[in-house]
């Protein structure tokens, strides 16, 4: 395989692998910026993936090509609703947010397979016919050279996600809402004294995280799989969490980290075709993002990066 061929394969593959990571990570960013740690991203992705796969399977008989898009919408809504559990438990009941997130993961894993058994009488959904297909992006794929590599035979959802990153950046850094969200995550007491409703902002943060994780899970199952199984998401929610840390809780940092992790995943898929990489075991590529995150954590050591009040329940009048 020559170099150009390699580039031609690896770029679309990277974009496909990175999209769910980035979307979910942006979700985590909204939640953690508002001061609620969300370990449950993985579970929220699972809910999104299950819902979108199920809806797609059930309606594709009558709606054909439109069904995966409706499936995605359903996935976003379902995960958004599911995340309310995490919001209520960690905001109103002031529970340990890490424990609540862990419970979300356990619950999502059990509930989705349970529902598969009820709906499809097996441990997975039926295979869907209409996943999200690779296509050429209209207009942009005509650009010479660049168009061939970046915009031909790609999943359009990857570009949605990049657009979402830009919008998220604008919202978080350029709007009053974003300022309030960050304030609540840094110093909820001060924000409260300025008349910001801390609970409401945190609810919005957590629900947004659910919706974006749902989008990530939906994209993942509809672009990379043919059905939903217990191993569809296989830790991508945790990679998203890693991307959030690696990207220093900043939307563009998250974008870079997501693409990098996506690249490492893609490299693992095509490595057997590349002479000097084919000697490395598959497991090396699978573990790579996690090793890198630990190294990054050491490199950030001592610098305060994350939102200061993330993980602390807000209690009115507490000192």
């Amino acid at each position: 395989m020559d170099f150009m061929q390699f580039i031609g394969i690896i770029i679309p593959l990277t974009l496909t692998s990175a999209a769910p990571i980035i979307s979910t990570s942006i979700g985590g960013l909204f939640s953690e910026r508002s001061g609620v740690i969300n370990i449950g991203l993985e579970g929220l992705m699972v809910i999104g993936a299950f819902t979108s796969a199920t809806v797609t399977v059930l309606i594709e008989g009558s709606l054909q090509g439109a069904s995966p898009w409706i499936g995605i919408l359903a996935g976003i809504i379902a995960s958004g609703l599911f995340s309310i559990i995490h919001a209520y438990v960690s905001i109103n009941l002031r529970a340990n947010q890490v424990i609540s997130g862990t419970a979300i993961n356990l619950l999502a894993g059990g509930l989705t397979i349970y529902l598969c058994e009820i709906i499809f009488k097996q441990q997975r959904t039926l295979a869907f016919l209409y996943g999200i297909k690779k296509e050429d992006i209209i207009g942009l794929s005509k650009i010479p050279v660049l168009g061939d590599f970046l915009f031909k035979g790609v999943h359009v959802t990857s570009y949605w996600v990049i657009l979402i990153v830009c919008i998220a950046w604008y919202i978080i850094y350029k709007t009053p809402f974003g300022l309030r969200l960050r304030a609540v995550g840094e110093h909820p007491g001060a924000a409260d004294s300025m008349g910001i409703n801390v609970y409401r902002m945190r609810y919005i943060g957590v629900i947004l995280s659910g919706m974006f994780a749902g989008l990530g899970g939906s994209i993942m199952v509809l672009t990379q799989d043919i059905q939903f199984t217990y191993s569809t998401i296989h830790g991508t929610g945790f990679i998203a969490l890693a991307a959030l840390i690696f990207g220093k809780w900043h939307p563009f940092g998250v974008l870079g980290a997501g693409i990098f992790f996506g690249f490492s995943e893609a490299l693992g898929i095509v490595a057997y075709q590349i002479p000097f990489l084919s000697k490395l075991p598959q497991e090396f590529f699978l573990a790579f993002p996690y090793v890198l995150t630990i190294i990054a954590l050491i490199a950030f050591a001592g610098k305060s990066v994350g939102p200061r009040s993330a993980g602390k329940p807000y209690e009115k009048g507490a000192r």
């Binding site: 370990i39 559990i85 438990v89 109103n92 009941l93 002031r94 529970a95 340990n96 890490v98 424990i99 609540s100 862990t102 419970a103 979300i104 993961n105 356990l106 619950l107 894993g109 059990g110 509930l111 397979i113 349970y114 529902l115 058994e117 009820i118 217990y230 191993s231 296989h234 830790g235 945790f238 969490l241 890693a242 840390i245 075991p281 497991e283 090396f284 699978l286 573990a287 996690y290 090793v291 995150t293 630990i294 954590l297 050491i298 050591a301 001592g302």
Partner: protein
């Protein structure tokens, strides 16, 4: 009865009990929504645990690793650390025990303890990494252990494949001298897979209690858990205690891994994703109030749920209901602030 519930001193028991009840209630509601009779479902669960001696044996087999991962998570909690990495430590321990069992042959009295010790040490090493990262670089242990879970999963999958005698999916069988299984225990429980591991788990629970409650070292660990700054002021070596605590926690989880790999089975296999023993440990620790005895009790409870869920699936209830109930129990146990507030209101109204 009312006095028992409303006495504040009893909250330690009432909150976990309520969590369990609410968890089962949530499970029942989900069964009703999906048109399954919960009485039938729970009936099958009880039969699945006590139906015959073999099922009883399998119940103990299932509970054994849960008790140990519960101890692992609880040990961290007592020191103010959240060891979400029991999963990874479990995997590393499971493999190391098998590696010792496959690679060398020794008399049983040496070989078996050596395999168990190796599993504990491997788990301790996997706990040492986040411990030192926390102590030296202030890296949050939750994030570090999550990452180490996945690194452990993939690393061990690779190690399993390269171990002499392995196929691409599992290792060869261990020498019988490193095997925890017992003909005697198996024969008295209708040929279940019951092995000596339960003894190991109970000893571990006793050690847990002894270290935490009866040694100066345990006192220091608890003190660090309550208030780091005060402990430092009192002259305790906070950083050293964090590392030790993560290592002991990891050792329990590593032992739990050995319970599966050289107890229930006699080989280790490549796994595609986590088997949730470590995460279940969080549930066990929470429900058991992070105390040695409490963890043994809650380990057996969750073990019953897991073991009985297979019987439930025969009665047309998908066995994932067990995981749903467990998750609900964790959720309710985490809500203890809400439950306590509810009890307080109830108390006032009754008065």
């Amino acid at each position: 009865m009312l006095k028992l519930i409303f006495n504040e001193k009893n909250e330690k028991f009432i909150v976990p009990l309520l969590s369990v009840l609410l968890g089962f209630l949530a499970g029942a509601i989900i069964m009703i929504i999906t048109e399954i009779n919960p009485l039938e479902g729970y009936g099958a669960l009880i039969k699945g645990v006590f139906g015959n001696p073999r099922k009883f044996g399998e119940w103990i087999v299932t509970s054994t690793p849960l008790i140990l991962t519960g101890l692992a998570v609880a040990f961290g909690f007592r020191t103010g650390l959240f060891n979400i990495g029991a999963e990874g430590q479990f995997i590393v321990g499971a493999f190391t025990a098998v590696a010792v069992g496959v690679l060398i042959e020794l008399p049983k009295v040496i070989h078996l303890p050596l395999a168990l010790l190796a599993a504990a040490l491997a788990g301790a090493f996997w706990g040492f990494i986040p411990g030192i990262l926390k102590a030296r670089y202030k890296v949050h242990e939750v994030v570090a252990t999550i990452m180490l879970n996945y690194i452990g999963l993939h690393l061990i999958n690779y190690c399993i494949k390269i171990l002499p005698g392995s196929t691409s999916t599992k290792t060869g069988k261990i020498f019988p001298s490193a095997d925890l299984s017992s003909h005697f225990l198996s024969s008295i429980t209708g040929r279940s897979r019951l092995h000596w591991g339960i003894i190991v788990a109970l000893i571990a629970a006793f050690l847990f209690w002894y270290i935490i409650e009866r040694t100066t070292f345990g006192y220091e660990l608890r003190s660090v858990g309550f208030n780091q700054d005060a402990s430092k002021y009192a002259g305790m070596k906070v950083n050293k205690n964090i590392v030790y605590s993560m290592m002991i926690s990891g050792a329990f989880a590593g032992l739990a891994g050995a319970m599966i790999s050289i107890g229930t089975f006699d080989y280790a296999r490549v796994i595609g994703s986590f088997e949730n023993y470590g995460f279940d440990g969080i549930a066990v620790a929470l429900l058991g109030n992070n105390s040695g005895l409490g963890i043994v009790v809650s380990g057996f409870l969750f073990g019953a749920l897991k073991a009985g869920s297979n019987a439930m699936s025969l009665a047309t209830v998908p066995k994932e209901i067990a995981q749903i109930i467990m998750a609900s129990i964790v959720l309710f146990a985490a809500m203890n602030y809400g439950i306590k507030r509810f009890l307080l209101r109830l108390r006032k109204e009754v008065k």
